[in-house]
Symmetry: C2
Subunit: 304 residues, 2 copies
């Protein structure tokens, strides 16, 4: 009989998992077990601490609903989501705009609008025009690219946090024109605190982190033949631009708010301008970092 | 501004967590983040795989109830619980019986019984006497030591899996006598499959593991001034003794079933004999590996 101790347990677990027929699942689980065990040995994890971890993860799972994904928030605040984004960007075969976090508030069914429309339907606030082009790696416009946008209101809340899910605000979908140009009106982004009323909020407070995200607006951009781009633009000058609680900011995604902009399609409004560059798709995988929470939690009962 | 990529994200996360006032929490979280990030880099984790992991962990959390702890089951099947037991045993300052898994079916309120009583109240089956002594590291009996026992029925189910929680079967608490001797009657242990109707069962099937635990009976043994011992005895000859799905078996905990045993206090019954050795307590911490699921999940909503 194999003697199991704090060292040999790792090989015992790997051996038992070696029957996994899917080679990628086998590889991922073997690496996970090795690193999980190395962590427990490194800190000499006690039974009491282990139990506290079980309690914490249980609470994270039980906080999830169709419109709240606390495990994504945990991944975001541990830097894992940002890391997965960076690995995804690195696998692109062509230069492209950097990914940023999808976060927990995306939804797939935002209304289709016409270029120049405003995504503000219920919330008063300072209107801004967002404009630019969607281009390929050679800088050529991608006609008809689909641009999906969502942002919080001026109190830092998304519609899903304050409205019945049957209502929407500050979301929209647009098709770029024949040269790949897009423009629409929205609120001037403001920073906000991540949801702090769950176990992840408890963790953030225990770590004395401020919990803020700098001002940003979310984009998902796609076109046939290109890798879907999940990203966000961050407004230069925000006090938390260098300490985002979820590590979403990339310098190349920081944009100035222009008070006057004669090149803007709506020159009477302040503007934010950005050109999004998409890489060619290697395959049919969307490469999306995240998903509509309703897709995750409603499937949750079925397991892995 | 710091440029965040798949390497620098780790230091960025550690820096943000460096404000944690509790030094142990700071140490544990820093090690966790380093190993979690190293895992994601090692396997080049894709957004789709990350999302599958989010879905899986969400399902594990949502499977937990007051009487079912799927995160403990996950920890058990990944070998983490066994590893934490081994680390705990290693910290003892005196030789003691090895720990084994508490598992998800312990409860604190089992009935107090008299030496020689049977823990079988509802389930017919082959009766066995369990007996031996509770001793200190010098082999001296520990008077009045508290011995808590629970075991599954002959179909492999614990009372919590088949009865209303207001009813109990195959559980009991005994005080050892003035020489540390204990004896009681119970069922001859049988092996069984872990609960396979949740996400952990899905994982076990995807890994083509058999899902069985070898025949065993659970013990929690305590006395003032000693480290609480959470362990189990495993019946020699079980076909899964060397491939326990939760890695609980230690060679020193494998015992024979004696068909005839003149030394037994009830010599007409088959017997299992074992002496439990407790180490002196270094402090007031119980060192318990696990807890009553109702304590975990009812507290879950409050977070970490």
């Amino acid at each position: 009989m194999r003697a199991i101790d704090e060292i040999t347990i790792t090989d015992a677990a790997l051996e038992q998992m070696s029957s996994t027929p899917n080679p990628r699942l086998k590889q991922v689980m073997a690496s996970l077990v090795k690193h999980l065990h190395a962590f427990a040995r490194e800190v000499d994890l006690t039974p009491e601490e282990w139990l506290e971890g079980i309690r914490f993860l249980t609470a994270v799972g039980q906080k999830c609903t169709e419109h709240r994904q606390e495990f994504i928030l945990l991944s975001d605040t541990l830097g894992l989501s940002s890391l997965v984004n960076s690995l995804h960007d690195k696998r692109a075969t062509e230069a492209a705009t950097k990914s940023s976090l999808l976060g927990p508030f995306y939804r797939q069914d935002a209304p289709m609008m016409k270029l120049g429309d405003s995504i503000i339907s219920k919330t008063p606030g300072t209107e801004v025009v967002f404009y630019g082009r969607v281009v390929n790696s050679a800088g050529k416009g991608i006609p008809n690219a689909l641009v999906q946008i969502w942002e919080p209101d001026e109190t830092g809340h998304y519609d899903l946090q304050k409205l019945d899910p049957s209502e929407m605000d500050l979301r929209g979908c647009f098709h770029a024109d024949a040269e790949g140009r897009y423009y629409f009106r929205g609120l001037c982004p403001l920073g906000y605190m991540i949801p702090m009323d769950g176990p992840v909020g408890d963790m953030i407070r225990a770590q004395r982190r401020h919990g803020y995200r700098p001002a940003h607006i979310h984009f998902v951009i796609g076109a046939p033949g290109y890798r879907e781009l999940v990203t966000a633009l961050y407004v230069a000058g925000d006090e938390h631009i260098d300490s985002d609680t979820v590590f979403g900011v990339n310098e190349s995604l920081v944009v100035p708010l222009n008070k006057k902009d004669p090149a803007s399609p709506l020159p009477n409004l302040p503007s934010i301008r950005f050109d999004f560059r998409l890489a060619a798709a290697k395959d049919q995988m969307s490469g999306r970092v995240g998903a509509d929470p309703s897709q995750i939690t409603s499937k949750a009962g079925k397991g892995a």
